[in-house]
């Protein structure tokens, strides 16, 4: 299977302002390379400040990279190419409630990316919104509602609908499942897995919950202070962690699991 997204030597560093010799450069993300195929999920774990959110921002194009390039389907994504990028790489945030504009209806919210990125007329767009809402398990009539009328789980579904409405190839989930209640979270995981099978999506999953990562992902990448310390197949890494950071992360959840094995 051809690879969908290939990242080569991507890095990010910030330059602090100062005089000539006192210029300080803080490197948030050391050069990293990886690739994802369609239908696959890459999980990224690491502690706070390890650069996982920075990596997500670089991939969607919210921040320019310091070096390296991103290939999508063999084509290089440049800094300015937002149109191409936002069609193919979409993101779901942790707190879905605050990322939806409270003064717009769901119809207007979902209409915006369509207006900007597709040549469809109004009737076609509405049709598409209706089918997308049904795809994520909501009703077509929900499009006239405002965000505050939905519960937390439903809001997360709406942001998923906003992510998939442009038929993307890669979706980045930045802690998207952390804030949900357990029963809604498993519904959401089922939904994401179904969509992955139907549409051939590739996911980049940033999460803390190792249980979800084990269930959900094919490959895993462990970041620590901007460096990739370990990567490989999820099951291999989880069963035989090599690096200290991975072992520590696994340990911190392992003792939560131990009591269940008795």
């Amino acid at each position: 299977m051809a690879e969908l997204l290939r990242v080569e030597e991507l890095s990010k560093s910030y330059q602090q302002k100062g005089f000539w010799l006192q210029k300080q450069i803080t490197t948030v993300l050391e050069p990293i390379s990886f690739s994802i195929q369609a239908h696959k999920t890459l999980a990224i774990i690491g502690e706070t400040g390890s650069g996982k959110s920075t990596l997500a921002k670089l991939l969607v194009g919210a921040e320019p990279a310091s070096s390296g390039n991103i290939h999508l389907n063999g084509q290089v994504l440049r800094d300015g190419s937002y149109k191409q990028r936002c069609q193919h790489i979409r993101m779901i945030f942790q707190d879905s409630g605050t990322t939806l504009n409270p003064s717009l209806t769901i119809l207007q919210l979902l209409d915006e990316p369509l207006k900007l990125n597709t040549p469809f007329n109004e009737k076609k767009r509405k049709e598409l919104i209706r089918t997308t809402l049904q795809k994520v398990g909501l009703l077509g009539d929900h499009m006239n509602f405002y965000p505050h009328m939905f519960s937390g789980g439903q809001k997360q579904r709406i942001s998923l609908a906003r992510a998939i409405i442009l038929q993307p190839q890669v979706i980045i989930l930045d802690e998207a499942l952390a804030a949900l209640d357990p029963s809604l979270r498993s519904q959401m995981i089922n939904l994401l897995l179904d969509l992955q099978q139907q549409m051939g999506l590739a996911y980049i999953l940033i999460s803390h919950n190792l249980g979800i990562i084990r269930h959900f992902s094919d490959d895993i990448m462990v970041l620590s202070q901007g460096k990739v310390v370990e990567s490989g197949k999820t099951l291999d890494v989880m069963n035989k962690p090599q690096h200290k950071v991975t072992q520590k992360l696994l340990m911190s959840q392992n003792f939560q699991l131990k009591s269940k094995k008795i």
């Binding site: 502690e47 706070t48 519960s151 937390g152 789980g153 439903q154 209640d181 357990p182 029963s183 809604l184 979270r185 498993s186 519904q187 995981i189 089922n190 897995l193 803390h208 919950n209 190792l210 249980g211 979800i212 084990r214 269930h215 959900f216 992902s217 094919d218 999820t234 099951l235 520590k248 992360l249 911190s252 959840q253 003792f255 939560q256 699991l257 131990k258 009591s259 269940k260 008795i262």
Partner: protein, 339 residues
């Protein structure tokens, strides 16, 4: 003797048009030196219940209970002042979001000193000041903060979330409570920090034999640390029993669904297979179903479920369901404190 014994506690929200029953006849009992988990998803009224125990709810909420005993004393017969004096001496609470609960305009040192019991200080006022300071340092050491001088002089925003939570625990411990109510002590915290906080709490439980009521929305997070667990759903009592009973032999469909829906509890499941889940979402307070509130989502619901079920007790394993899952066999009681 039970430390805390609450029978049929209801909490009602007084509204303009109608009163909403947010917590419906929940019973809770705790033994001395026990760590009890209180589990429920958002809107299950677990935080309300904790606030009602401490007595910090305002006039909008109407609390009613059939029995409310604290170490054998019937609190319902005491006047409000007596009850408050008793509860504030013996019970301490850690609230959610430590950053938001600490005063941002005062240093940690001042906030800690304020919490220290004045009756434990002796001597003249200039000596008391010194004692207060050293007591604050001792408290910080107790919760595992070594650099006490830096911590005492800093403001809450200068500390990390985990440090703030430790300070909150230190403030709660200042009066040497018998019961500590921890309301989601590790929400929005990293795993490594979560482990630290839980280890601190369990060491306090073992060394000082302090009872802890651990409130969490996630069953899988706390099972390692608790002896017994009470599960709530949408303001109703669901199931209570030892951790082993709840996890291995859950009788209520909701508890079973919670256990089955967590991917880390189901190692045998192949990766990327569908997880078991309940349909629908948690009902909001304005539109609560009658009878058993799980009814519309329950796979085993039948006609009888329009009436709220009564609590049945199977050897200390209490369940509130008309059609509990597994048939009950008489088994030797599970050993307490497996973990």
């Amino acid at each position: 003797m039970n430390l805390l014994d609450i029978r049929n506690l209801s909490i009602e929200l007084i509204g303009d048009n109608q009163n909403i029953l947010a917590v419906d006849k929940v019973s809770l009992s705790m033994k001395e030196g026990e760590v009890r988990g209180l589990v429920g998803e958002s809107g299950s009224g677990k935080s309300l219940l904790a606030q009602a125990i401490v007595g910090v709810l305002n006039d909008k909420w109407h609390v009613h209970a059939d029995r409310f005993h604290w170490r054998g004393i019937d609190l319902l017969r005491l006047s409000i002042e007596e009850r408050k004096a008793l509860l504030s001496r013996d019970i301490a609470m850690i609230f959610q979001e430590p950053m938001a609960c600490l005063d941002p305009t005062t240093t940690i040192g001042d906030q800690l000193a304020e919490a220290i019991d004045a009756s434990s200080l002796t001597g003249f006022f200039w000596q008391k000041q010194k004692q207060r300071h050293s007591a604050a340092i001792k408290l910080l050491h107790k919760v595992g903060i070594k650099s006490h001088s830096a911590c005492l002089n800093s403001y809450p925003h200068q500390l990390t979330e985990a440090l703030c939570q430790r300070v909150m625990i230190a403030i709660a411990l200042a009066r040497r409570p018998i019961l500590l109510i921890a309301d989601e002590p590790t929400a929005a915290m990293e795993n490594t920090n979560q482990g630290q906080i839980f280890r601190l709490l369990s060491s306090l439980n073992q060394l000082k034999s302090m009872s802890i009521l651990l409130i969490s929305h996630d069953l899988e997070n706390i099972t390692h640390w608790t002896h017994t667990i009470t599960v709530m759903y949408s303001g109703q009592f669901v199931e209570a029993g030892t951790t082993e009973q709840i996890f291995r032999k859950s009788l209520h469909p909701y508890t079973r669904a919670l256990v089955n829906s967590s991917p880390s509890a189901n190692f045998h499941l192949p990766a990327k297979s569908r997880l078991m889940t309940l349909p629908g979402s948690i009902p909001i307070l304005q539109h609560l179903p009658i009878g058993c509130r799980l009814g519309p989502r329950c796979p085993r619901a039948q006609q009888a479920c329009v009436k709220a079920p009564s609590v049945t007790n199977f050897h200390g394993h209490k369940v509130s369901c008309h059609f509990p899952l597994t048939p009950i066999k008489i088994q030797p009681k599970a050993v307490k404190g497996v973990c």
